[in-house]
C-alpha cells in the first residue's frame, strides 16, 4: 500500500493515476499539486533539469509526510510521486494528491506536503541553465539545521 502511495520514478507521472489512488466515496474534495519544470527563474533560462534521489530513503520520507498529514488532518488520504532523471521544460516533476471529506483540509494538507518535501525528502535538482549548471539546494533558505537535522514531526 505504502509503496503505491509514495513513489519515486524515472517515468512520466500520470495525474489520473495519482488521483485514483486517493479517491474514496466519503471524500468529496480532492486537491492536486503538479510541480512542473519552469523555463524562467529570476531571469535565468533553464534548458533542462536533472533530479537525483536517495531513492529508498526518499520513499520513506514521503511516507513519513503522509503519516504527519494523517495525524494533523484526520481522514485525509495522500499520494505523492516524484520523478527523477532528465526532465525537460513543462515536464511534471512531482504530483501530490490529497482527498478529504472537506475541502479546507484537502488544500491545507496538500500545501503542507510540498513544503515538507522541500525540507526532508532526499531529492536534488540540478539546473542546466543556458550558461552552465548548478546543483540547487536550500530553497527554503534554511542555511543550517539548528537541531542537527530536519525537523521530523512524529
Amino acid at each position: 500500500m505504502t509503496e503505491e502511495l509514495f513513489q519515486i520514478t524515472d517515468k512520466p507521472i500520470q495525474l489520473e493515476q495519482l488521483v485514483a489512488k486517493v479517491e474514496r466515496p466519503e471524500a468529496g474534495a480532492i486537491t492536486t499539486f503538479i510541480g512542473t519544470v519552469r523555463e524562467w527563474t529570476k531571469g535565468k533560462r533553464t534548458i533542462y533539469l536533472e533530479y537525483q534521489a536517495y531513492k529508498p530513503m526518499a520513499v520513506k520520507m514521503l511516507a513519513t509526510i503522509g503519516e504527519e498529514i494523517e495525524a494533523k488532518w484526520p481522514n485525509t488520504q495522500v499520494a505523492i510521486t516524484h520523478r527523477i532523471g532528465h526532465l525537460e521544460i513543462s515536464d511534471i516533476a512531482v504530483i501530490i494528491a490529497v482527498s478529504s471529506p472537506h475541502r479546507k483540509a484537502a488544500y491545507q494538507a496538500n500545501e503542507y506536503a510540498i513544503e515538507r518535501i522541500k525540507e526532508i525528502v532526499p531529492i536534488w535538482k540540478k539546473e542546466n541553465w543556458e550558461d552552465g549548471e548548478t546543483w540547487i539546494g536550500d530553497q527554503l533558505e534554511q542555511v543550517s539545521y539548528p537541531e542537527g537535522k530536519p525537523q521530523i514531526k512524529e
Binding site: 530513503m57 510540498i114 531529492i123 536534488w124 536550500d138 530553497q139 537535522k149
Partner: protein
C-alpha cells in the same frame, strides 16, 4: 566496514557516489570531518547525515555494516 553514499555536488566533488570505508567506532560528526578532509568536500556544515535511511544527529554513533548517506540541502518538489 561502512558504506558511504554521496549525492548531488558531493558526489561530483568526491568523483564517486559510493565509498566503502574501514572505520573504527566513530560518531557522525567525526565521520563528516574525516570525509571532508579526505575528499575535499565543501559546504559540509549544511550537510545532513542519514544512517540506514534515517536522519542522524552529530553525536550518533556509526557502526560496522551501517549505510551512511551524506545529504546536502534537498531541492525536490
Amino acid at each position: 566496514m561502512i558504506t558511504v553514499l554521496l549525492f548531488a555536488q558531493l558526489q561530483e566533488e568526491a568523483g564517486n557516489g559510493r565509498l566503502e570505508l574501514e572505520l573504527v567506532d566513530t560518531t557522525v560528526k567525526e565521520l563528516k570531518e574525516t570525509l571532508q578532509r579526505e575528499y575535499n568536500l565543501t559546504k559540509m556544515d549544511q550537510v545532513m547525515v542519514a544512517i540506514n535511511e534515517e536522519y542522524a544527529l552529530p553525536d550518533d554513533r556509526v557502526k560496522d555494516g551501517d549505510i551512511v548517506a551524506l545529504i546536502p540541502p534537498v531541492s525536490g518538489g
